[in-house]
Symmetry: C2
C-alpha cells in the first residue's frame, strides 16, 4: 500500500480562492432571467443567495478573492489535506505513469463539500440570515452543510433525492445527528414536488427536482436563503483550495502533472482540483490536460448539448449556459448519486466549448472495478463518485504503459465510500449493472424538454 | 466548533512501543495452561501466534520495544494523529475544565485498531505465515486487520459477532471489499459454533464465542495463525503509539492531563492512551488519574471479579488473570459492539487490583447523549464505543464546574461512527434503551460458569 504523503502546514492553507473567470478570454455567458431573457444582475440574486455569494458569482475581474479568517479557522479542522503518491496503484497497473491523488476524504464528513459549505453558511450568518435550505444527491453536500449550519447556528432544511434517501440512510442520519431537517424529494411539501408526484407517484427524484423544492422553500420562508453544493461559479471558487494546495504539494514531489482529473456531477470537485492548474494554461499556455470523468448514465459533457437551460426540474432558476441533457432528464439510479445532474456549470461549459478541457464517460461497473482495486492497493475505500476519477486515471496510466512513456497523473479523491458500502455489496455480489445513455436518447430528451 | 489542533510531523511517529509491564512493581500474574495449571511459556504460544507476538506477550523486562521500519512506514499513512482542544465541548458544558481528545478516527478504516493490525500482520508475513484468522465485534478490528492482511498479502478469515454482522453490514462490506472472508459467529463452520447453535439456535454471538471459532480455525488450518485486537499484552503494547504521541502534543499545548480516559472493551484503546502517562505515576509517583469507561451492560471492571478465566466462550484459550463477568457472560445487544467482552486484559486487571486506575460504567443512553452533543459541537460523529469515553469526560468536566476549578481532561476518540448511523437513528427516534447489569446478575453468572 502507498505510504508517500506530501503534507503541508496549517499556514499553507490558501488565503485566497482562485477565480478562473478573471483569466478566461471567453467569459462564461451570463445567466438570463427566464421571463425577460435579460442578463441577471448581482442584485437579482439577492432574494435567493447571500450578498457575498451573489457578488462572487458575478465577479469576472478579480483572479484572487480573500478567504475570511473565520472560514480559514474552520478549514483548519481538516485542511490542508494530504497529497499521496499512489505507489500501490502504479505497481498494480505495472505502469510507467506516476499517479498522485489529493485526498479530500479526510474531512470530518468525508468529502470535499465542506470547502464551500463553510463559507456559504458563514456569509449567511454574517448577513443575519437564520434559515437556509439546500438539496443533496448522495448526501455528501447535505452532510457538509449540516455541519456548517450547526457550526454557525443556522437552521437547515435539506431536500434529499429520494433514491439516495433510501439507498444511503446513513447520510440522512448524519444530517439529522447534526440537527438538520431532511426531506425525501420529490415531497408533498412544495408545489414543485406535488406536481411531479401527481404526474409520476413513483419518481425516485433527481438533483434537478430537489433544487426546485429547496428554492421554493427558501423563497417562501422568512429570513431564509438557498445554498447549493455545485454548478454555480461561487461554489467552484470555494473549491479551488483543493488545487491551490495540490499545486504546492506537486512542487514538493518535484513533478508537474501532465493531466489533472476530477469526477464530474455539476463541477465542484472537478473545478476545485483543476482550475488552479488550468490557470497556467490560460495565462502562459502551459501544456496540461484537464479531464472530467462523468458517468455514462449522465453524460452531459460527452453527449449533451451547449445551450441555455434551467438549473432545476421545475424551471425556478435563472437560465444558465450549460452543456445539458435537458432539465427534465431523469438519470438512472446509479450509486454515484452526486453525479446524477443534467447539466454542467457555466464556467466548465465555456471551458469545454473552448476545448480547454476534455471529458470521458465511465460505466458504473468500470467505476466499481477501479474503486475496489484502489481500496485493495491504497487502503482507502472511495466514494462511488470519486471512483469515476480513479477509473479515468487508470485509463491514462494504461495508455502510458502502452506508449511505454512516463505520464504524471493527478486526480482528486473527492470523498470516501464508507457510507456507500451497500453499493460495494451489490458490486461484489454481481448485482450492479451499467446504464449508458445514447446520443439518440439525449436528442429525444432535449427535444421533449419544455421550450426555453 | 473546535479548531485548535496540535499536529506532529511524520518524524514524531514513535520509534518504540512502551511496554508498561517492565515498570510495574506487581507484574500481571502469568497465563496458565488450563490442563496442567502451569504458567505458559513463550513457546507454548507459538502454535497460535507469530513468534514475535509471543515474545512481546511475555516480555516483562524491556520498557521500550522497537517498532519495525516497515510498520512505521504504514503508520505514516495516517499517523501522527491530531490532538484537539475541544473548545466547542467546553463551551457547551460551560466548564472551567480544559478538554483534549486524541483523534484516532482519522485512520483509513476509522479507528485505532490499525495500530496493532499492522504489526501483527507484518510479523506473520515475516515468519512465512500465509493465512490468519480473527474475531471482530463491531467490525472495527476486523476492518483494520482486513486492511493489514491485504497490505502484506495474507489470506484472512474473520468471525464477526452475529448481532454486529446484521447491525453493521457496512463494516462487513468493508472487510469483503479488502478481500477478507467474513463469517457470522456463532457459525456451523467450527465445533465451538455448532455446540452453541445446537444449545441456543438464536444466540446472537459474543466476542468470547467468536474468539473460540477463530482459534479453532487457526489450529486446524495449515500455516495459519490467530490474531486478536485486544485483551493480550502485545496488543496493548502496539496501541501505546497513541499515548506516546499524545504526551508530546500535550507538551505542545503547555498542559499536563489531570485525568486520561479511554473507553473499555478488552483494553486496547484504553491502554494505548493511558499507559504512556501512567508510566510517570509508576516510575516517579506523578499525580495522574486514568479512567476506563465501560458500558453498564458489560461492567467487568466495576462489577466483575478478579480471578483466572478463559478468554473465550468455549474454553480454548489459556487461563488469564482478569476482572471478569464469567466467560459464559452473554452481553446485551448494545450498539457499542466493541465493548461487549466479558473480561479485562491481565495488565489492566493488575493495575485495577493495585488501584493504579479506576473505572466508571456508562449507560447506553448517556453514551449516545454525549455522542450527539459532541457531534454537534465538535463536528465529528463518534463511534458508540468512543462515546463512552466522551460521556466519562463530560462527567469529569461537570465535576470541575461544580468545584469551580480547572481540570485538564484528555480522552481518546478511538473511532468515528459514520458506519454506526443506524444506532444514531434509533437514538434520535427514542428507540434505544439502557441495559445495566446488577451485582446479583454478575454473581449468579460467575457461579454458573464452568468451574475453572
Amino acid at each position: 500500500m502507498s505510504t508517500k504523503k506530501f503534507l503541508l502546514q496549517e499556514s499553507d492553507i490558501p488565503k485566497a480562492w482562485y477565480n478562473i473567470v478573471a483569466d478566461m478570454k471567453n467569459k462564461p455567458m451570463p445567466m438570463l432571467d427566464p421571463q425577460t431573457r435579460k442578463p441577471m444582475t448581482e442584485e437579482d440574486l439577492h432574494p435567493l443567495f447571500s450578498k457575498a455569494a451573489a457578488n462572487q458569482e458575478m465577479n469576472t475581474t478579480d483572479a484572487w478573492i480573500d478567504i475570511p479568517d473565520e472560514v480559514r479557522e474552520l478549514y483548519k479542522i481538516w485542511r490542508p489535506t494530504p497529497l499521496v503518491r499512489a505507489y500501490g496503484l502504479e505497481k498494480a497497473l505495472d505502469t510507467p505513469a506516476h499517479i498522485y491523488f489529493k485526498n479530500e476524504s479526510v474531512s470530518p464528513i468525508g468529502s470535499h463539500k465542506l470547502n464551500s459549505a463553510i463559507p456559504q453558511a458563514y456569509y449567511c450568518k454574517q448577513e443575519g440570515v437564520s434559515n437556509i435550505t439546500t438539496e443533496t444527491g448522495a448526501g455528501q453536500w447535505g452532510a457538509a452543510l449540516s455541519y456548517a449550519a450547526k457550526a454557525f447556528g443556522l437552521e437547515l432544511a435539506v431536500y434529499m433525492v429520494k433514491v439516495s434517501y433510501h439507498q444511503k440512510p446513513y447520510r440522512r442520519s448524519i444530517m439529522q445527528t447534526f440537527g438538520a431537517q431532511v426531506i425525501a424529494s420529490p415531497s408533498m411539501s412544495t408545489k414543485a414536488g406535488r406536481k411531479i408526484l401527481t404526474n409520476n407517484p413513483n419518481y425516485q427524484g433527481s438533483l434537478g427536482t430537489a433544487i426546485s423544492e429547496a428554492v421554493e422553500l427558501a423563497t417562501q420562508t422568512p429570513n431564509c436563503k438557498y445554498t447549493l453544493g455545485s454548478v454555480m461559479n461561487h461554489v467552484m471558487l470555494h473549491q479551488t483550495v483543493i488545487g491551490i494546495e495540490a499545486e504546492k504539494q506537486m512542487e514538493m514531489a518535484g513533478e508537474y502533472p501532465d493531466v489533472v482529473i476530477g469526477c464530474f456531477g455539476g463541477g465542484s470537485n472537478f473545478s476545485g482540483i483543476t482550475f488552479p492548474f488550468l490557470r497556467h494554461k490560460l495565462k502562459d499556455g502551459k501544456e496540461i490536460r484537464v479531464v472530467a470523468a462523468e458517468p455514462a448514465s449522465c453524460p452531459k459533457l460527452t453527449r449533451g448539448q451547449f445551450q441555455y437551460d434551467f438549473g432545476d426540474e421545475a424551471g425556478y432558476t435563472p437560465l444558465l449556459p450549460m452543456y445539458t441533457l435537458g432539465h427534465n432528464f431523469s438519470p438512472a439510479n446509479i450509486h454515484a448519486g452526486g453525479l446524477r445532474y443534467h447539466g454542467a456549470g457555466s464556467i466548465v461549459s465555456q471551458l469545454q466549448k473552448d476545448k480547454l478541457m476534455s471529458a470521458v464517460d465511465i460505466e458504473q461497473l468500470e467505476a466499481f472495478e477501479a474503486a475496489t482495486l484502489f481500496a485493495r492497493v491504497e487502503g482507502i475505500i472511495p466514494a462511488p463518485e470519486s471512483a469515476h476519477a480513479i477509473a479515468a486515471a487508470i485509463k491514462e496510466a494504461k495508455e502510458a504503459k502502452e506508449e511505454g512513456k512516463k505520464r504524471v497523473i493527478l486526480f482528486n479523491l473527492s470523498g470516501h465510500g464508507l457510507i456507500d458500502m451497500a453499493a460495494y455489496d451489490q458490486y461484489l455480489s454481481g448485482d450492479l449493472v451499467n446504464y449508458a445513455v445514447t446520443d439518440e436518447e439525449v436528442a429525444k430528451n432535449l427535444s421533449e424538454c419544455d421550450k426555453i
